[in-house]
């Protein structure tokens, strides 16, 4: 039967495709490739930190490793990860559309990502960059390393993000199937909508900030340079105006995936649909008012700190609501513990820890103590890896049969999950303790008392690596050799499962008409 995978052949039919499903797979290849690159940097970082003193790399190189790990993972993996890869594939299917609103723009957005990533990585051959992914001035103005290609690369990748977001908003507004009102849309679509709002509104400010930074390096314009009357704290305001909402670009779509997974594997309607919708939108909007909580000790004024602290607490409420609603959905359900659902439960557990530590960090004096220590590192990874990466993996396993028309190996999927989940906790939980004990982040070397916990952490990183090797190997195998999947192997209710696996070129042979509520 003709489907989107086999309807056209040849490399160019992929590189110039305007089919959202094929573009999603292009994203899949890019995102996972960069994930491996970023993961490799992470393993080197952990290896260096295994022992006190300089072991495998010197501090200059270590600083580059941590910069590239951050930049690659954030700009090239997590930000495009769920929206551009899973979202691209699933969004039109879930709303019963033939494609996204602007297929060419969609392809352009992928090219922006690839070109931006390429520009960023050319800096590797120009001596590398060592500013950290936050590019704080004035260090980023003064350092002799290749800041400009990295910044320009991030600028171009920003366009990728903007275009994806723009495309999704329009698609959701204009291309819903007949009968699908806004409040009948699946929650994944809602979460992509909230994400897209942030992408469109926040990314331009990053763009101008990065342009200013380039101007700062080329011309020394002095806007952020105290030597010329500029204010370095203003850079941090501008930067976090984007970068705080950006962490919600990373986590909101993962939350959407989890909603899908929990419904599908509990065989139930979601509990509190509207609450979850408004929680997503609420998080998206409030995320713009809280960026200063990254700056409690930056020299920002006391009052600004207090205002940002109370606003940050407000984000906690919709987040808590989401967790409670997911668990309430499981109540009296019929739970099947397939790999995607295990990832969803893994998400719940890790995100819970990431969430409560986030609440702790919002409390001013506690943050003053642990700011820029491993506590923050651990919190961030619990939210981003425990949240976003669990979301990507869970979603990938869940929609895998739809994407390739084949089933993955359940046993190996579960083994991969177990290794990643255990490895993750072994790696990052000790870092909370390190942080409370005052070990600063971005340290190429540390004092002897911190050694034992660092060693546990490094061992954990090997477990994670092993887990991903297992997961990816068997997924790759299943892509070509897995058993054939039926149209709806999970018994899920959303529209994408009404189409065949893999779907035909224009998604549905007949445009679906929606009469039921979401997940009914």
């Amino acid at each position: 039967m003709s489907n989107y995978l086999n309807c056209k052949k040849g490399l160019f039919s992929w590189l110039f495709t305007r089919d959202h499903k094929r573009i999603a797979l292009l994203y899949m290849i890019t995102v996972f490739s960069f994930f491996i690159v970023g993961g490799f940097f992470a393993l080197l970082i952990r290896l260096e930190l295994f022992k006190v003193g300089e072991t495998i790399v010197n501090s200059a190189f270590y600083n580059q490793l941590m910069t590239y790990h951050g930049a690659v993972m954030i700009f090239m993996v997590i930000i495009p990860g769920i929206p551009a890869f899973l979202g691209n594939f699933v969004l039109p299917l879930q709303i019963g559309a033939k494609d996204v609103a602007f297929p060419t723009v969609n392809l352009l957005s992928w090219y922006c990502l690839v070109i931006g990533a390429f520009v960023t990585l050319t800096s590797l051959f120009l001596g590398g960059v060592d500013t950290g992914w936050t590019f704080y001035t004035p260090y980023s103005i003064e350092t002799g390393t290749a800041v400009i290609p990295v910044v320009l690369g991030a600028f171009i990748m920003g366009f990728s993000s903007i275009l994806t977001g723009l495309n999704f908003i329009v698609t959701i507004h204009q291309l819903r199937a007949p009968g699908m009102s806004f409040f009948k849309m699946p929650l994944f679509v809602w979460s992509l909508y909230s994400t897209a709002i942030i992408q469109v509104l926040a990314t331009p400010v990053l763009a101008i900030t990065l342009l200013l930074l380039v101007a700062e390096r080329v011309l020394k314009v002095g806007v952020f340079d105290p030597a010329m009357g500029g204010d370095p704290i203003l850079f941090q305001h501008f930067f976090w105006f984007y970068s705080h909402p950006a962490v919600y670009i990373m986590i909101l779509p993962a939350m959407g995936v989890i909603s899908e997974l929990i419904c599908a594997f509990s065989r139930k309607r979601i509990f509190g649909y509207k609450a979850l919708v408004f929680a997503s939108l609420g998080i998206a909007v409030v995320s713009f008012f809280v960026w200063g909580h990254h700056m409690y000790v930056s020299g920002q004024s006391e009052w600004a700190g207090i205002v940002f602290s109370v606003l940050t607490m407000l984000v906690g409420v919709p987040t808590a609501v989401k967790i409670f609603n997911w668990i309430a959905t499981m109540f009296r359900g019929s739970l099947k513990f397939d790999t995607p659902f295990l990832y969803a439960l893994g998400f719940l557990f890790l995100f819970l820890i990431g969430g409560v530590t986030g609440y702790m960090l919002a409390v001013l004096p506690f943050d003053v103590h642990v700011h820029d220590t491993y506590f923050v590192v651990a919190h961030f990874h619990y939210v981003m890896v425990g949240g976003s990466i669990m979301g990507i993996m869970g979603g990938f396993y869940y929609w895998f049969p739809k994407m390739f028309g084949r089933l993955y190996n359940e046993g190996m999927g579960q083994l991969g999950f177990a290794l990643i989940f255990i490895g993750f906790n072994v790696t990052f939980f000790p870092q909370f303790i390190l942080g409370i004990n005052g070990m600063p982040r971005r340290y190429a070397d540390y004092k002897a008392p911190y050694e034992a916990l660092n060693q546990i952490s490094t061992v954990g990183s090997w477990l994670i690596a092993l887990g991903f090797i297992v997961a990816f190997t068997f997924l790759l195998w299943a892509m070509f050799k897995g058993r054939k999947a039926s149209a709806n192997p999970w018994g899920a209710k959303t529209l994408e499962w009404q189409s065949s696996s893999p779907p035909p070129h224009e998604n549905f042979l007949e445009t679906p008409v929606v009469t039921k509520e979401a997940y009914e």
């Binding site: 200059a60 105290p226 370095p232 309607r269 649909y273 919002a362 004096p365 971005r442």
Partner: protein, 300 residues
């Protein structure tokens, strides 16, 4: 350590306690659900259950809200205590951050690097600024931290309750030597401190010994006293040899070259090194400078 730490620890215990409690409760619930509602047969029928409950949803939004706001207020009280102006009788010490060491300047003109001496049971106010990029002054034991910015004073104050030696870290990423940019805080009795303040650090020292002292305080983050390269070149055997510069020029490393490389390092960069040393112009006395040069010469 300090009164502030004692009060902050109460808040920490509350935060960790309530977070732990909430996590445990939620995990128990969803693990219980996982076992209780596990799918037994593929075609099992579900009991009818509601998918919406306003009162329940309001409750579990409202309770976290109250906890969050309570924590915020508690935090606010402590934070304004931490940020409030130091007591009027505080001992004031100027702190300068630079890549990659800390310099402390006391009221009587005494300077130390990477070692901060303060008397016990006396509030101390640090007036801090940076000579190059942003640093952050962090005393983990006292749980206080403040970024140190160029072109702006920030301050931090504390009152140590007992004597001892404590670590100071730089926690804002500041470049290659970031992780070595630490200092020791020494809390001593008032009497000892007053005596210490009056001592002349260079009394009865030869010029080379003065240089060695300066070297150990200011230079070791980047330079070794052997030939081994750290961030900057190792200084043994440099004097009176030909140095190859960036751009291909070579010149003899005489006293003038050494002097210039200390005071204005970016003028001539050795081949293979980045231009990242903060200039010492105005930061060293003539005696210290001559001492340093003599010390470098003595390493040959």
């Amino acid at each position: 350590m300090t009164d502030y730490v004692a009060r902050l620890e109460k808040l920490e215990h509350f935060l960790i306690g309530i977070s732990f409690l909430v996590c445990v409760l939620i995990v128990i619930v969803f693990v219980y659900f996982s076992f209780r509602y596990k799918r037994k047969r593929d075609d099992e029928k579900l009991e009818e259950s509601s998918h919406h409950n306003t009162i329940l949803e309001f409750t579990w939004s409202f309770i976290p809200f109250v906890i969050f706001m309570g924590s915020f207020v508690w935090g606010w009280i402590l934070y304004s205590d931490f940020r409030r102006e130091a007591p009027r009788d505080s001992l004031e010490i100027h702190v300068y951050g630079q890549k990659w060491n800390w310099e402390f300047v006391y009221k009587n003109g005494r300077k130390t690097s990477n070692e901060l001496f303060v008397p016990v049971k006396r509030s101390v106010k640090l007036i801090m600024t940076s000579r190059d990029v942003i640093h952050s002054f962090y005393i983990p034991t006292f749980k206080i931290k403040q970024d140190v910015l160029p072109g702006l004073y920030t301050s931090l104050w504390f009152k140590a309750n007992r004597k001892g030696r404590f670590e100071v870290f730089c926690t804002e990423f500041c470049g290659t030597g970031h992780s070595t940019m630490g200092a020791k805080l020494k809390v001593m009795s008032l009497e000892d401190w007053n005596n210490w303040l009056k001592t002349d650090p260079y009394k009865n020292l030869s010029l080379v010994e003065v240089g060695q002292k300066v070297f150990q305080g200011r230079c070791t983050a980047c330079h070794n006293s052997t030939k081994e390269k750290l961030i900057g070149p190792g200084l043994a055997g440099i004097y009176n040899t030909q140095r190859e510069l960036e751009g291909g020029m070579t010149l003899l490393a005489d006293e003038n070259y050494l002097r210039e490389s200390i005071l204005n390092p970016s003028a001539k960069i050795s081949k293979g090194y980045a231009n990242q040393m903060t200039p010492f112009a105005g930061l060293l006395s003539e005696e210290e400078l001559s001492g340093l040069i003599e010390y470098i010469k003595s390493l040959n």
